[in-house]
Symmetry: C2
Subunit: 459 residues, 2 copies
């Protein structure tokens, strides 16, 4: 069987694959520090050369910042056109003194029975992106070509907020548009259980400024008669959640839906310790909707948080002022088919209804993006689940992500593509920290996972 | 009758009294600007000389800042020993361009049928303090001496928060302690209705810092599970007042008492326009306890205000953070015999009871002072009411003051003296503003009022 040959090639080449990854890891492509700009370019050029050697049309493309690497397979193939995304830039090594071996001198070590690759970027994201490159290499070596039409896009600004990404997508829409995106920058559930992130919460950002008297007032001369906008804002904040932790804004849950029973059963059965998760941040009790599992609260339930509040005197000591205004920044995490614009309107109405005659509210919008959800019946998802289950021997966890992953929004919005978020990182990879590592098993079985998925997609 | 002679002397001397006031007004004793330090001293020296000319032992006493003027009558007299307080320092003239005549070139003008003295300090407080000096002068002229044992203390730092006052009182306790203080820095009810301020609200200042997780959290990764301290603080703020505007902290109203029926009737019958009062600050509805007259809300009812709040991200735009903490500054205005320390404890308990297990609160105290209230049956108050009613032909309004007047607290706390707050300013005196003025009738009848009171006190 063709797949077996490809997998055998991956196995046989593992040491050389690791050597190639080491070459990339040695390039200090720190995007956050302009002093490393030439190293970033060097990493881009190294990758373009590597991809060209696999028979792809590969190029380094300039942007306002660090360059993009774009490569196209010459194969058309029977299956879908896939766009693979990764990033070659890394975080600085600081604090350098805490690294046990130098950040940019990668090594394989055995720690607690696990073989690991240690070095900056080993997990985030050079090790991850190379799982895909090595899978592709195995196809080329075993079969002479890419199994599908593949486009690879690797950016060099992920650690600085991807400023060039959206303009690049916009300028190269027709070149980059594929049937589905493969994004390799996420984690497995644990060392031996793969995961696919299929739900990403959306985000609505609103700021409210409550205004009362036309000037700051002396609280002695006016206190007791003049309305205090901080008190009103406190009342508004207090009114947003009911005693069950549900959000009381009318219509807020429209379209939020309920978690699929299969996924709910999976999440409930995971070896997830609520007390460990909360304990790590100094908390002990989930504060969200009552009767919901913490993973549900984080991944599949909408929220409202106040991210900032300010009003009156906030310096040292005291000042007896009744301020003319007070303001708060609210963020709503959205799920399912919740309509961000409708919720914005409902929130504003909800606030306005609480304003006494002498107060008014001004609203500032800081953005709105809907939740993203890969349907359970997506054929890509089905094939990915099968491929991962075959490789790892256990079903993939279908995870949510409480926060947004901007690239996925860009792909959906700008290129009309769903994304399969599959990655092989694990919790203790220490990304962004000293002694970043990547499991050798993640690297090896990651490549095998991609081989299985690419094989499944073409059939 | 002796008093008639004294009053006739005041009447006869009016023009010369105004001339003397002008001499004082011409001295630019601006305390807020160090460039005018020598002018402040000049004003102090002018006053000491003036008081010495009336037969008092008068001296200019150095402090860390501007000097004090202290003068003692040689008369022992039959009545109580009174301490008169005023201040000779003034606000800067700025904005100078808005003065119709120069700030330090006082003039008598007739505007809208009213004779007024225009100039910086005419009302605040040189004009006011000179009413007492002129009354004393009339006694000396008519009878050869002060009618009572009188101590006069005039400070030069009132407009800068009186930094030297408390140390000066502390250092000169036995010299300054009298039976009752006369403080002339307040207003009448209107041009023709005198007032005595008999109630001063106390003040309790508390800051609360609510802490939750041990670090700032990403609201995507933790939102829905992690408790948000801003939300909790909002809930605490919202819980302080009940729907009737009453404060829900247990025991808060202990000792607050109810307004004396006579005073309540007086306040209710005053020509006070709620809508005008609130309209001037852009409001239309009293926001305090329901069913209470606005003057009651301001003068004789306790309050709780939030003077400041801060937490999380407060810059431009948005940041999806769940902050580790949020804080608010609270002030309580106290009345009657409310116990500031007991209320502090009750407030802290009230906050602590609302803390979920994962949150804690820290408290900072920024001071506590009880309300001051002159008992209606005080013999000094009775004589003052009679004296003012005799002079003005209408009863004096017994006012409250929503804010504290620090000197009164100092006299009570440091010297164990009650204060009679009697002043002849009116609403439109424009103190601290361009074109400050003082009604000639205030100046003239103010001096006559003091003469009547001093006469009443000695008998």
């Amino acid at each position: 069987m063709a797949l077996d040959q490809v997998l055998a090639t991956i196995d046989k080449n593992l040491d050389r694959s690791i050597e190639r990854l080491f070459s990339l890891l040695r390039i200090e492509s720190v995007s956050t520090d302009p002093a490393f700009a030439k190293n970033c370019r060097a990493a881009a050029e190294w990758l373009a050369k590597e991809l060209a050697s696999l028979g792809l049309d590969a190029s380094v493309r300039d942007t306002e910042g660090h360059p993009m690497v774009v490569a196209h397979s010459k194969t058309q193939g029977a299956g879908p056109h896939v766009l693979f995304y990764g990033h070659y830039d890394v975080q600085p090594a600081d604090p350098v003194a805490l690294w046990e071996t130098p950040a940019f001198e990668p090594q394989v070590k055995t720690v607690g029975g696990r073989k690991i690759i240690v070095g900056r970027g080993s997990a985030d994201d050079k090790g991850q992106l190379m799982t895909f490159v090595e899978a592709l290499r195995a196809f080329v070596e075993a079969e002479g070509k890419s199994p599908l039409r593949v486009t690879i896009m690797l950016e060099g600004e992920e650690e600085t907020g991807s400023p060039s990404l959206a303009p690049f997508l916009e300028a190269n829409k027709s070149e980059l548009k594929a049937d589905v995106a493969l994004v390799c920058d996420t984690d497995m559930w644990n060392d031996t259980t793969p995961a696919i992130t299929t739900m990403l919460r959306g985000l609505l950002l609103e700021e409210v400024i409550v205004k009362a008297a036309d000037r700051d007032l002396h609280s002695g001369l006016f206190g007791g008669a003049a309305i205090n906008p901080i008190r009103l804002l406190g009342r508004i904040i207090a009114s947003i959640h009911d005693p069950e932790g549900r959000i009381a804004i009318p219509g807020f849950y429209d379209g939020a839906g309920e978690l699929d029973a299969e996924i709910k059963a999976q999440w409930t059965s995971l070896d997830f310790s609520e007390s460990k998760f909360l304990g790590e941040i100094g908390l002990s009790q989930p504060a969200g909707e009552k009767g919901r599992h913490v993973l549900e609260q984080l991944w599949s339930r909408p929220t409202c948080d106040v991210n900032g509040i300010i009003g009156g005197y906030t310096g040292i000591g005291s000042k007896t002022v009744i301020p003319a205004q007070a303001s708060a920044k609210f963020s709503f995490r959205l799920v399912g088919r919740q309509n961000a614009e409708a919720i914005r309107d409902a929130f504003r109405d909800f606030v306005r209804k609480q304003l006494p005659p002498d107060c008014k509210a001004e609203f500032l919008s800081h953005g709105a993006s809907p939740a993203l959800q890969l349907p359970l019946d997506s054929p890509y998802l089905k094939k990915a689940r099968a491929a991962l289950a075959a490789e790892w021997g256990v079903p993939a966890v279908l995870k949510g992500s409480g926060g947004s992953i901007p690239i996925v929004g860009n792909f959906k919005r700008d290129l009309g593509m769903d994304s399969l978020l599959i990655g092989f990182g694990v919790d203790d990879d220490r990304i962004h920290s000293p002694n970043e590592k990547y499991n050798v098993s993640s690297f090896h079985k990651g490549a095998r996972s991609w081989a299985r998925l690419l094989d499944a997609l073409r059939s």
